[in-house]
Symmetry: C2
Subunit: 331 residues, 2 copies
């Protein structure tokens, strides 16, 4: 080999080493502290993606489902969609003097939860009807966009779309890098979440499952028009989550991530008696300093009692936010 | 350049030519006869996939929606799901002597369409309830699989899953090769179609939209169990198609394919006032020899009057099955 050839070989090897080294060293989950929690995720992903192993899961079946409120983004001081509804009521009130005599609106303005939730949430549904139905789907999307562009979280003083958990963003990307399809399965509004899911989480609208009323379609002055309604409302919470997964995906997930008893049925459906290897995870909010600390008695949503009790039995990993997350909010 | 170098260059060029040539020459739609119909598809795909052009559509927005009955597979002599329901009634009758006194079942057995469709399809819904609800989703899937594995089309003497249109199978593959996401949007049953959509059409269950009742979930003796019901039935036909697209996809398609007036709203939603370039196509069943010929007065489903009239106004391509398809059924 000539000196020139040797030099060539050396430089090629060096370039190759530089190219490969960062890939090997890079930690896909840098905001997760090392420990059994983080390891349980990595072990599961390695197991189901190892070709030839008995635990290998074909790409088409790598479905991972995520709750949204309290799992991907914060749900405090109130679920963000409720804050949006309140802002909408305030914004629209001057055009609607009749709302001054509307008991539901008044209860909502006074945060009178008892009044709103009486008679099977009659008041809350009325406020939802005023702010989430009766307009075209395009008009609704624009309202959510306008609110997201201007509203600020009262504590963190930044847009709500930035009040998302950095470790979960990394987890979504890590799973997708391993050919998982990532889905949102949330009690939140389907249309509401879709406005931000793609940009915020990298999850396209067709991979969002949420509560919704049936939209109606008509040609209006020659223009195709979809109108939001609260007809045949589907509530994507508790047993509604596996039902929603069946309806929208039609395939059993192999990984589920939640933070409340509302996610328990989804975790059970994903991990119990599943012929494929499966993974369940509960985010336990233990960090009052960096985020919020709550479980059995949350100030707003996110009650976590029975799912936490069931976790050891079913092998669900419980994230101790304070201990397991090096970073909480995304920058 | 030395002779050796010239030879090297020559052989590289030759190899490159061989590598490239088949790609250029291969016709992705061999079962479509050359002509304006086929050309309209190719022109549209070329247009929206040409980077830098004003008509370019980003991959995420390349959504194509297909009706199923009469568009991807035959709907004669009866929609195949109706034939399945009849087979199920026959199979289960010995276990259900009470069905001998059931007016709906008797009307179904006698093909008494008037009796079945009276009172807003009361009889038909009753037969559907007996054959499509009340069992676990797994048990239902197995029943459809068993039927598909044994039943034969009365005319073509082969499984119903093979009574699909070869040109449409090629079209699905061609669109996917150009990074389209292909969806079924059909009046047929959601669960019914999902049993065969992946293997038959290459369309995974989560890209199927169809008529459905709300499934329910419960833990039954410790086993997660989904049960099919006919509660809050969603009919994915006519104006229900754009509504279903909004609900499941949340994004406007840029290409729609149908064969009946039931697809007109979906074609309108896709092609009228769409900020993106769009494509609409109607399969006109004109070939009694190789398949069936029908439009205004179909023997079973697939009435096509108003959508055919509207086609020229909206620039929808109309497929003349007899003229445009070199092959009809897939082998």
């Amino acid at each position: 080999m000539s000196t020139f050839q040797k030099l060539q070989l050396f430089s090629l090897t060096t370039v190759a080493a530089f190219l490969v080294a960062p890939l090997q060293a890079a930690d896909p989950l840098p905001s997760w502290n090392d420990g059994t929690t983080k390891q349980s995720i990595v072990d599961f992903v390695n197991k189901v993606t190892e070709e030839g192993s008995g635990d290998f899961v074909p790409v088409a079946e790598r479905i991972a489902v995520f709750d949204n409120d309290g799992t991907l983004w914060s749900e405090n001081p109130l679920p963000f969609q409720v804050i949006f509804a309140a802002a909408e009521i305030k914004r629209l009130l001057p055009e609607h003097p009749e709302w001054n005599d509307n008991a539901a609106v008044q209860a909502f303005i006074k945060s009178d939860v008892a009044a709103l939730t009486a008679n099977h949430n009659k008041g809350l549904l009325e406020v939802l009807a005023l702010t989430h139905a009766g307009m075209s789907t395009d008009a609704y999307d624009q309202r959510v966009k306008d609110w997201l562009a201007t509203a600020e979280h009262p504590r963190w003083k930044k847009p709500y779309s930035q009040c998302v958990y950095q470790p979960m963003i990394e987890l979504l990307e890590y799973l997708r890098a391993n050919d998982f399809q990532t889905w949102i399965v949330s009690g939140g509004g389907l249309s509401f979440m879709r406005v931000l899911s793609e940009q915020t989480y990298g999850i396209p609208p067709q991979q969002v499952i949420g509560s919704h009323g049936q939209a109606t379609f008509e040609m209006k002055d020659g223009v195709p028009t979809l109108t939001k309604t609260l007809e045949t409302v589907f509530v994507d919470d508790k047993a509604g989550k596996p039902a929603g997964i069946y309806q929208f995906i039609g395939r059993r997930p192999i990984a589920a991530f939640g933070n409340s008893d509302g996610d328990q049925a989804m975790l059970e459906y994903t991990t119990i008696d599943n012929p494929r290897p499966s993974f369940g995870m509960i985010i336990h909010h233990t960090d009052a300093e960096r985020e919020y600390a709550y479980d059995a008695k949350p100030k707003s949503s996110g009650k976590l009692i029975t799912a936490l009790e069931a976790a050891p039995t079913h092998g669900w990993t419980v994230v101790d936010m304070k201990k397991d997350w090096e970073t909480v909010l995304a920058e």
